[in-house]
Symmetry: C2
DNA sequence: TTGTACGCGTTATCAT
DNA sequence: ATGATAACGCGTACAA
């Protein structure tokens, strides 16, 4: 490893002081325009690169934001990240991304790693299995701003960027009812995650408004993975004609698709026998036959808003400090999977 | 932000020197066992956290590896990352992950960011549009080890962890031929990416061995995204019975699925009219009807091997330096999309 | 407008 | 087995 160029090297070459170089590299307005130009030119010429460590050591700031997500494998997540990356880079922040793989344990260790890396702020969407947020406490204690997105925690006093899950679920369920469905099953995730609790509420509300009795046995809680969705499908197949639902509203597209695939293999016609609605507008929703009715919400926007928020908090913007819930708009995309032939 | 605990604070409390504390925190064998214990206990008690910046500043090492991937949205990619994460964390390295979104420009800027962050080593899978690797040169110049995985660059003198794309494509094509297909189309990506060039070679070889004339018009090069796959489907639909292929071998599952979906919508029967084979064993390959025949290869393993390799290079292991191509095994998964009814 | 000088927290070297 | 010291590269208070 050959020697790195430092501000001292530039100083020597230009017969200026290191302090001036330091200022010049940041285009300090206190400096002579031409001096700044000379410094930048020389830096370029000599291949100078800014040393983040030395800088962070002085500033006690890393210009790095940490992101913890459940999984990176959905289009939805990657568009959130794209939105975050966009705003962050414009503001001069770098991102460190890690996955909890839906496990609280991993979420804890990721949070701890990021804490030790001294990220300036944290963006987090909670894992299925996260039951408390003690692992976030160190950030709160050190006044490091935290923004929750998508999956937040009930009662947390941090900012959250979310959608109105209640409304979205209400719309989807109402739509299924309008198609003539009366026995609507709801396949959802851990109800301690507020997004799922809210979706359940919306589902219930739609039933109630249409005078359909809520039946607890029609709500299946699972981790929404392939296996659980297949199990759900088998549960449905095992039901007699009386019990069997005429529609399923799933809390995400993937579980809806896995469930549909298994039912189709066993001769169930979709949407005629059972109509389907999902959530997230994943790419698969348009690959499956019939295309899946789903809830679309803007991943990019969520990412952008969450990071803007965080950066405002870092700047000490008081007005943001008091806004602790930002709700973005979502919409119902009606496709064939829920359109019963009349 | 309250004050951080440093080794000086620990030193004062324990009436030891900072140097001893530093050694103790790393469990130096030169120290008295009991001293080490006292130091660790006190550190814990006072809430000491190691300061990476100060440490990196001294060591000129960051214990961080950079990863640049085209996209994070496939199961294949996330399993590679999981494998990488696994080995890296065991060896005490952190990861910084970024996406090129298949664009060379973004890949360049990501590489530059990582270079400036002074990562200790780089893991990269090239974007579709990457035509040269001048942006990697700074790493070579500074002797920062680089390992290519999955998508490498022809003639590069770095280590690559790949699969035998030639063999895999050969097997897939041969399988299609065995099903009685004679007019096999190949839908692939940019041929400057060696994985695609190799797959094309394997495809050609299989044709040749079966005395089927190679027809250039049957090879469609694209970026393999949704739009291109749909365009390919339209191209097929526009062909007359004579020209129209009886099978399509796609260089990835996603494009195969998009293509199939569009053809199905236009009344083409799969596999009877046109058989399909993909590549990667993505989750969608088992969601689509009929299930997609594909090439499976172990993402986890690729990730693990690539990181082990990189870490060995960092340790100055000469034996690794000379191995510059590690080829992992892949296998053909036969599913309904390619099984013609006899 | 530019320079001087010190400190950020850690660790390698040398000394004890 | 432990201590003293310098150095890593940068930024800033203070001085000029």
């Amino acid at each position: 490893m050959q020697k790195e160029i430092t501000i001292y090297d530039l100083a020597r070459e230009l017969k200026l002081s290191p302090a001036t170089i330091s200022r010049g590299l940041k285009k300090s307005p206190a400096l002579n325009k031409t001096t700044v130009q000379r410094i930048l030119a020389k830096a370029e010429e000599m291949g100078y690169r800014h040393n983040n460590f030395a800088s962070s050591l002085r500033n006690k700031r890393t210009q790095t934001l940490g992101i913890i997500v459940p999984r990176l494998n959905s289009y939805f997540m990657t568009s959130i990240l794209a939105g975050m990356e966009d705003v962050a880079s414009k503001e001069g922040y770098d991102l460190i991304i890690s996955q909890s793989l839906e496990k609280m344990e991993l979420e804890k260790s990721n949070a701890s790693t990021m804490f030790n890396k001294r990220i300036d702020g944290l963006l987090i969407s909670l894992a299925y299995t996260t039951t408390d947020i003690a692992h976030i406490q160190p950030f709160f204690d050190k006044q490091i701003p935290v923004v929750f997105f998508d999956r937040s925690f009930p009662g947390v006093e941090s900012t959250s960027v979310v959608i109105d899950n209640y409304q979205a679920a209400y719309k989807a369920t109402t739509h299924l009812i309008e198609q003539g469905c009366k026995k609507i099953m709801h396949l959802t995730g851990n109800l301690t995650r507020d997004i799922y609790a809210d979706r359940l509420k919306g589902y219930k509300q739609a039933l109630e408004e249409n005078k359909i009795a809520f039946d607890e046995k029609r709500v299946l809680v699972s981790t929404l993975n392939e296996q659980d969705a297949t199990t759900a499908a088998n549960t449905i197949l095992a039901m007699d004609a009386e019990q069997r639902p005429d529609a399923v509203f799933c809390a995400n597209d993937l579980s809806a698709v896995y469930c549909m695939v298994h039912l189709k293999q066993h001769g169930i016609k979709i949407p005629d026998d059972i109509a389907f609605a999902g959530f997230n507008n994943d790419a698969v929703s348009r690959m499956i036959d019939p295309n899946l009715t789903t809830i679309d919400y803007p991943g990019n926007k969520i990412g952008e808003v969450a990071v803007s928020c965080l950066i405002n908090l870092l700047k000490g913007d008081e007005s943001v400090k008091n806004t602790n819930r930002i709700i973005l708009h979502s919409s119902l995309l009606i496709r064939e999977s829920s359109l019963k032939k009349k």
